[in-house]
Symmetry: C2
Subunit: 457 residues, 2 copies
């Protein structure tokens, strides 16, 4: 059988996620983000197209590097205002049966004891369709607002994230034995106290003696997502993640990232395909190539260069407002900015990038590529991406919400299905079981398995 492509939809509880400016498009509905029915409709659309999951990004802070001010982010609705992603999910789960849900949460804002309960609740209410995208870093503006004048340095951040995850794993996996909940109305014992255990965690950052407040959910540990680009981040993802998001600007760059990640998984004692890798893409698909190109031209009329550079400045820490639109960025005498545009240059070493070209690139779909064409054209391209890079699938951002996703479901999905590249029906079971076909729970060689084994002794 041909390898099946994974498709995720990528969204955020905000107006302008990765295409700032496009909220001005007459058909864009992202300004309905505070309406729960908007999200329920989206979930139903995605499930109609057998999309594997909806992944909801989050930031707890503001993009204020551009112009040293949050003004551009506010005016462009560039990921601000931004609401809590978690509360959207149970309502969408109630209206669907199979769609998975990934939610971003940073290890920096909430103690793992209440956080672990939130995720267990989510996994219960979705009947095992919950995923957690672990974020180890955060915007400086977010840190300041919880009273931290300085962020932890890079290595400390990963040490804290590692311990945070250990606390969560212990609560999720070792606190309640499989048969602790008896719920036997006759003998009158809901949970057998002998089978519920305090985790006795005493670490550098956290001290948690007690047991988990939630009974075991279908997956116990939610599906673990990660998006780590640095070498330390890659090692973290290789050790823990089941799905990894990347946003490579070209197949050449992606092929190397995929190879590096799979090698890192092996170094961490796991199999190369224990991690599914999803490339961030925006797909603009229409009945014909011409119509798709016309759609892209139409979209570009609403794109915001300022919004795009605001996001880019936040991601890189470089204030792009300081460079003229026609400034060739490789010529800027700054190590930081050369490193920031290096990925773009690597994608195509024959060309240079000006500020305006970077803005143009990021204005639709953020830092991921845009594919444009008929379903046949785009399916051809996706097949090439998979064949040439070894990537497992794609994390699809929207240009116009939800129009981009509706077109994917109505046009692209049937073409991929006809080619045998995409499922016609969901597999049964939890999100983890649907994606890996090995049951509901994290299994060896994932470190959770050893933790569980040790706890049983």
């Amino acid at each position: 059988m041909t390898k099946q492509i994974r498709l995720n939809a990528f969204a955020m509880n905000t107006v302008g996620h990765l295409s700032p400016g496009l909220w001005r498009h007459p058909r864009d509905q992202a300004t309905r983000y505070t309406d729960i029915h908007y999200w329920i409709e989206l979930a139903k659309t995605l499930e109609r197209g057998c999309i594997d999951g909806l992944f909801i990004a989050d930031v707890l802070g503001v993009y204020d590097v551009y112009g040293d001010s949050p003004d551009s982010a506010l005016a462009n609705a560039a990921q601000v205002p931004v609401n809590d992603p978690l509360q959207l999910v149970p309502a969408m789960a109630a209206a669907t049966r199979h769609l998975g849900f990934g939610v971003t949460a940073s290890v920096s804002f909430e103690h793992p004891y209440p956080f672990a309960r939130r995720m267990s609740t989510l996994d219960h209410l979705t009947q095992g369709r919950a995923g957690w995208n672990i974020v180890t870093s955060y915007l400086a503006s977010g840190a300041r607002n919880i009273g931290q004048d300085r962020q932890l340095d890079h290595d400390q951040r990963y040490a804290l994230a590692e311990e945070y995850l250990q606390v969560c794993y212990k609560l999720w996996e070792t606190s309640w034995e499989d048969d602790a909940v008896q719920a036997d109305r006759k003998d009158g014992v809901y949970a057998d106290p002998r089978k519920v255990h305090g985790i006795h965690h005493e670490g550098t950052y956290f001290k948690v003696p007690g047991f988990h407040l939630s009974e075991p959910s279908p997956q116990r540990t939610p599906l673990i997502y990660q998006a780590g680009a640095s070498s330390r981040g890659r090692a973290f993802a290789a050790a823990h993640a089941e799905c990894v998001f990347v946003a490579a600007p070209s197949k050449t760059v992606l092929r190397k990232q995929v190879a590096d990640l799979r090698a890192a998984a092996v170094t961490a004692g796991r199999a190369p395909d224990d991690i599914q890798i999803l490339e961030q893409l925006t797909v603009i698909v229409a009945p014909t190539d011409e119509q798709a190109l016309a759609l892209l031209r139409e979209y570009r009329e609403y794109a915001s260069a300022g919004g795009a550079l605001t996001l880019m400045s936040g991601w890189t820490g470089i204030d792009f407002s300081r460079y003229a639109p026609d400034q060739v960025l490789r010529e800027v005498p700054s190590e930081a900015i050369r490193s920031a545009v290096e990925a773009f240059t690597r994608a195509d070493p024959s060309r240079t990038w000006t500020t305006a070209e970077i803005a143009d690139y990021c204005a639709i779909g953020g830092d991921g590529p845009v594919l444009v064409g008929s379903a046949k054209t785009v399916a051809d391209q996706l097949q090439e991406w998979v064949q040439e890079t070894g990537v497992d699938g794609f994390n699809l951002a929207s240009a116009v919400a939800p129009e981009t996703f509706v077109a994917v479901v109505d046009l692209l999905v049937p073409e991929l299905q006809a080619r045998g590249l995409f499922k016609r029906a969901y597999a049964p079971g939890t999100l983890r079981d649907k994606l890996f076909g090995r049951g509901d729970r994290l299994a060896a060689p994932h470190p959770v398995a050893a933790l569980r084994r040790d706890a049983r002794r």
Copy 2:
């Protein structure tokens, strides 16, 4: 017009809320608490009966005072396992149009900056039907699990709660001006940066310079609930709360509590009826008095004395496992326990209370009274409670879930409506506007109004 009675339903994202043991009843469905459809059905039932709101309690900890162990709580499902209440609400809001939703959250577990965003998100997704029950204290077991060996003392707790609330008020009320969000597709400005302000909060416990991440929700500040029993708690409630929950064992005790609260509101510069007071009650209603009494007898067969004393021990800090069932508690040489049973003794000074009688009292409906009878009988009693105490309404707990609520909606509500004591349709607007009829926003003399005025200068 006769004064309208307010009716709230009282629940918790757990198996055994206030009637531990009753989950064993063949018709009880509380073990479905992890099923989002269970909650959606409940919300629809309540809205069918024009119930004002569903109030979801929460604890982040375990009742481990009884027998110095969590074993009894686990076996009896006495508020453990317990899941996050917040995630239930948007799904219920999507299935209803008018029902309000109150959610308990302690000021001790999450920083106000991310917490304020959670509540704004909730108010957005419910279209202005969100309430927050502010809890200032917590179980010692919860404190230990977030690495705090000692809780703050009583006064410090209220000082922290006061500052926490100030931070939230500033984020909700003063950060975004009313016309900050323009969402004008033509001029391309989503939010006018000149109308979004950092709150520059620098206090004893919190330092929050930035602006709120959420744009203004329909109510901005969610409806403020509180349940404060101590004199410091009463002052806090009198200053901030719009609805106060009490659980008096008798009309005599309740009358004094209501009078004290209204007097405290006046001391705080507010009007006596700026606070709506709801007495916790469990109502067992059936077509006839005989059938209701038979139902109560049937329920009592499933009640758990151990579960009841586990809750009571947690609430009072006294280990009731140390006293024999026939021990008259007034004779125990302990100041603490005499003070704990004082409320019961005040309710009826002519009698004494044994451990078994306390257990019996609390086994159905926890620390609130139980009213039993036909709709006519119960309506008569509720009318007496309102007339003799000045209370505004009732916070109804369930014995068998959701059977108790279904009976209230099908039998009691029509009787109250026929008497002109209960609305036949919801008022329009947000939860606050429905309850007070003065608009969506907190108005003077509530302290928020002054804060808003000062910010405008």
